[in-house]
Amino acid sequence: MNIDKIILKIFRKSESLEELEMLEQWKKESGDNLAFMQALNLEKSDSYKEFDKEKAWSTVDQKMSVGSLSYLRYAAMLLIAIAAAAASHFYSKSEDLTFPVYKSMDKVEHYVLQDNSTVWMNSNSTIAQISDFKKQRLIEFSGEAYFDVSHQESNPFMININEQEFVRVVGTSFNLKSKGNDFDLVVYSGKVELHSKSGIIELEKDQRVSRVNGSYVKFSNVDINTLSWKTGELVFENVSLEKAFETLEDHYNVDIDYSAISLYNCVWRTRISNQELGAVLNELEELFSMKYIKEDNQIQIEELHCD
């Protein structure tokens, strides 16, 4: 039996018991079906009410053009208008006053910027575009991100670190961690310039610069796990457990306390691909007869044996 015909019969109040049952069955099949019956007022709904949308729109429309601008923005618009000295450009210019802001909350996000550069942002990171990207590509940045910057020789891509210092590239890929006093930059392709207060530091593929005690230190990047936050993959090639624990602490955001045992002569060779911490700890239990207590983000290692 066709459901439309059953509904029609119900309208006429001439349905049979069997048809009513079929309708009940159909309603249970999906929320859409139920909503459909509710809209037809054949089902008790939360009394859906239609507000005057047209009137509401004209109110919003009016406020959109006036009420939403702050005095500061008015001032900025005025300045730009004077600078542009061309009334016809006024509106398009004022449009451009707000540039996109990209944000990752509690997970890794992937964005394509206006210039086709791609960015993978680790959790809790923010990118704010602060120029129109036409003559120079300027951004503010906080957090950790892997940048793959599109090559535009005459349109440099610049990331402000603070009032005086910035990173400048024309087309390259690199991982940047910059938040408060933390600074760490690893280059994967092309060239990167770090314009610091004490001069320009140039970096090429596999080179790295970190801020240590307030000054920049440049070295070769031997850490293959820098991008583990993005790839989910950790590789330990006969790495000391001490170093491995440090990496695990970063990657899983936990504290590992091994003060109760000795890690002398302990090396580990493994590849971890998108695994939960529990699985990693299991592997350690098997390999090193490890015993541990885990409480929230605290892991206390009580026993561990290396042959």
Binding site: F11, Y48, K49, F51
Partner: protein, 182 residues
């Protein structure tokens, strides 16, 4: 040299949607205005207050339209914003006791609230679909559904046979279900 913005303080209340122009903004407005108002009916019966809050939320959305953060989830953004504003209102009015339990405490939507939001969006879609019925079909359908006329009365009013009325009704139901499936 370059103006420095402290990113930890910038855009704390920013939420992102892909709205490139007014046309796209109006499309979002049309789709969400009624569901959001109906969502707030859980909180108050004051229609003026309801519409004020929802219009405010839309103005905020327009202002922040270039933030890319929550591009995939405009629904959560709008319903959460409306809920948040209702909380703010109840605090400012100190009307704790009356609507204290209208919404869950969290800024996020609870499962129930999310379900209600989805249901309201579906209902809106159905009401909008009604407007897309062929004119005759719609007339018959509305006379029956909203004016409560019987088939015989409709047939008499419109000067058509009862069989034709029934035909229109069947077509209306079919068409509505089609529109909703898309």
């Amino acid at each position: 040299m370059y103006a420095f913005i402290n990113l930890d303080t910038v855009n704390k209340d920013f939420h992102q949607v892909h709205i490139r122009n007014k046309t796209e903004f109006k499309a979002v407005f049309n789709q969400y205005y009624n569901p959001l108002c109906n969502f707030l009916m859980k909180y108050t019966n004051d229609d003026i207050l309801i519409e004020d809050i929802v219009q405010d939320v839309f103005l905020g959305l327009w202002k922040n339209r270039k933030d890319h953060t929550i591009s995939s989830d405009i629904k959560s953004y709008l319903f959460q914003a409306v809920k948040h504003k209702a909380f703010e209102h109840s605090r400012s009015r100190k009307s704790y006791e009356k609507h204290l339990n209208a919404f869950s405490e969290s800024t996020q939507l609870s499962a129930d609230e999310d379900e209600l939001a989805n249901r309201l969006l579906k209902l809106e879609k159905i009401y909008q679909s009604l407007r897309h019925l062929p004119p005759k079909c719609r007339e018959v359908f509305e006379l029956h559904k909203y004016n409560g006329l019987t088939y015989a009365e409709i047939a008499q009013t419109l000067g058509i046979s009862e069989k034709t009325v029934e035909g229109h009704m069947l077509k209306a139901i079919k068409k509505l279900r089609e529109l909703l499936a898309n």
